[in-house]
C-alpha cells in the first residue's frame, strides 16, 4: 500500500456538490462512488444525477422493510447501488439536475443512461483492506457519525470520543500519512473524505479524519465498493 493516495489527483473525483436542505447525503455518496468507478472503467469523469436517486429510487433493505430510500428523508448507499443495477444506470447530472426536493415525479430516461453498475460489494472493516480497495477500485461509499462535522473547519479530526452510530453518507477518496494539525503541531495519518455540503464547508468541502483509531466515528463499519460497466466514451 502507498503511504499517501488521493483519487482527486488522478481525476476520478467530480467537484464538491451541495445537498442543501435535504437529507440526501446517501445519494451523493452513491453517485460519487459510481463516478469514480465509471472513471476507472472508461477514463471519462462524468457527474451523475443524485436527483434520479431521490425521485426514482425507493429500494428497501431486504431485511428491513422500514429502511427504504426515501429522497430527502434519507436512504442507504447499498440500496442505491441495487436500484442502479436493476434500473440500468444513472443519468448525467446535467440531464437530470439536482433540485434538493423530493416527492417529485421520476423523470428517468433509459436512453440517457451515462453510467452502469456491474456489481457492488461491502468491504471488510479492516483499515488496510479499506485502503487497498480504495486504491484498486476507486472512491468508496462510506457511512460516518457526523456529530463533530457540524463545527469542523479544518485539520485532522480525531476526537477523544465519537459515537460509532452512523448517520451520514460520504465518499472516501484517499488517505495520507501525516496530516498537519495547526493548533498542536501534530502529524496524524488520516482519511480524506468528500462531503456534500458545498465547498465552503471544511477543507474546501473535504473532511480529514484520523486513521488507525479503531473505527473512529464508525468510518470502518459500512464501506461499499462499486464497479462500473466498461463502456467506450462517446
Amino acid at each position: 500500500l502507498p503511504t499517501d493516495f488521493d483519487w482527486r489527483e488522478h481525476g476520478a473525483v467530480t467537484p464538491v456538490k451541495n445537498q442543501g436542505l435535504c437529507g440526501s447525503c446517501w445519494s451523493f455518496s452513491a453517485t460519487g462512488a459510481l463516478e469514480g468507478a465509471h472513471f476507472l472503467a472508461t477514463k471519462e469523469l462524468v457527474s451523475l444525477s443524485e436527483q434520479q436517486l431521490i425521485d426514482c429510487d425507493h429500494t428497501c433493505d431486504p431485511q428491513d422493510a422500514k429502511s427504504c430510500d426515501s429522497g430527502c428523508r434519507g436512504g442507504l448507499m447499498n440500496n442505491a447501488f441495487e436500484y442502479t443495477l436493476k434500473t440500468g444506470g444513472l443519468m448525467k447530472e446535467q440531464d437530470y439536475p439536482y433540485t434538493g426536493r423530493d416527492r417529485s415525479v421520476c423523470k428517468f430516461d433509459k436512453t440517457m443512461i451515462a453510467a452502469k453498475v456491474s456489481n457492488f460489494s461491502v468491504v471488510s472493516a479492516d483499515e488496510d483492506q479499506i485502503a487497498a480497495n480504495l486504491v484498486q477500485n476507486g472512491p468508496l461509499a462510506i457511512a460516518i457519525n457526523a456529530l463533530w462535522m457540524q463545527t469542523y473547519i479544518g485539520g485532522v479530526s480525531c476526537p477523544y470520543v465519537c459515537s460509532k452510530n452512523q448517520d451520514h453518507g460520504v465518499l472516501l477518496v484517499g488517505f495520507g500519512s501525516a496530516g498537519y494539525a495547526p493548533l498542536r503541531l501534530e502529524d496524524k495519518p488520516y482519511w480524506i473524505i468528500k462531503n456534500s455540503w458545498g465547498s465552503m464547508w471544511g477543507e474546501k468541502g473535504y473532511y480529514k479524519i484520523c486513521r488507525g483509531s479503531q473505527n473512529i466515528c464508525g468510518v470502518d463499519t459500512m464501506v461499499s465498493t462499486v464497479a462500473a460497466v466498461h463502456t467506450t466514451p462517446q
Binding site: 445537498q19 436542505l21 437529507g23 440526501s24 447525503c25 446517501w26 433493505d61 431486504p62 431485511q63 428491513d64 422500514k66 429502511s67 427504504c68 428523508r73 434519507g74 436512504g75 442507504l76 447499498n78 456489481n119 457492488f120 460489494s121 461491502v122 471488510s124 488496510d128 483492506q129 485502503a131 487497498a132 480497495n133 457511512a143 457526523a146 456529530l147 463533530w148 457540524q150 463545527t151 469542523y152 473547519i153 479544518g154 485539520g155 485532522v156 479530526s157 480525531c158 476526537p159 452510530n165 452512523q166 448517520d167 451520514h168 453518507g169 496530516g179 494539525a181 495547526p182 493548533l183 498542536r184 501534530e186 496524524k188 455540503w197 458545498g198 465552503m200 464547508w201 480529514k208 484520523c210
Partner: protein, 115 residues
C-alpha cells in the same frame, strides 16, 4: 505549603486560561453579523433572528469545547452555526439508522496489502 515549619514549593501547578472566555464572547454580535454575511443568512422576523443568535452563541461554546476534545482539528463557526444539533441531524444528515447488511450481500475480495 508549610510542612513542619518548612516552606516547600507547591508541587501542584496552577493552570489558568490566558484568554478570558467572557471577553471572547463579547464580540459575539460582530461574529454573528460576519456569519450572516458570509453564509447569506436571513431570518423571517426579529424573534427568529434572536433565537438563531442564541443558537449561534451555544454553538460557539460547543465549538470551543470540541476544540479541547479534538485538538488536531480546528472547530469554530461554520454554515451550520445557527442550527441546533437536533436540527442539524434532521436537516442535513440522511443515512437510515436501521441499516443492517442483508445476508446475501457480496463481500469484497480480500486484497494483498503487504506490497
Amino acid at each position: 505549603v508549610s510542612i513542619s515549619g518548612e516552606v516547600k514549593n507547591n508541587p501542584i501547578k496552577q493552570v489558568v486560561r490566558e484568554e478570558n472566555d467572557e471577553q471572547l464572547l463579547l464580540n459575539l454580535d460582530h461574529q454573528f453579523t460576519l456569519f450572516k454575511s458570509k453564509y447569506e443568512k436571513t431570518y423571517k422576523n426579529q424573534a427568529e433572528h434572536d433565537h438563531r443568535f442564541r443558537v449561534f452563541k451555544a454553538n460557539l461554546r460547543r465549538a470551543r469545547r470540541r476544540q479541547l476534545l479534538d485538538p488536531t482539528a480546528v472547530h469554530g463557526v461554520t454554515q451550520f452555526s445557527d442550527v441546533t444539533p437536533k436540527e442539524f441531524s434532521r436537516k442535513y444528515l440522511g443515512l437510515k439508522r436501521r441499516f443492517r447488511l442483508p445476508n446475501d450481500t457480496q463481500q469484497a475480495a480480500i486484497l494483498p496489502t503487504s506490497e
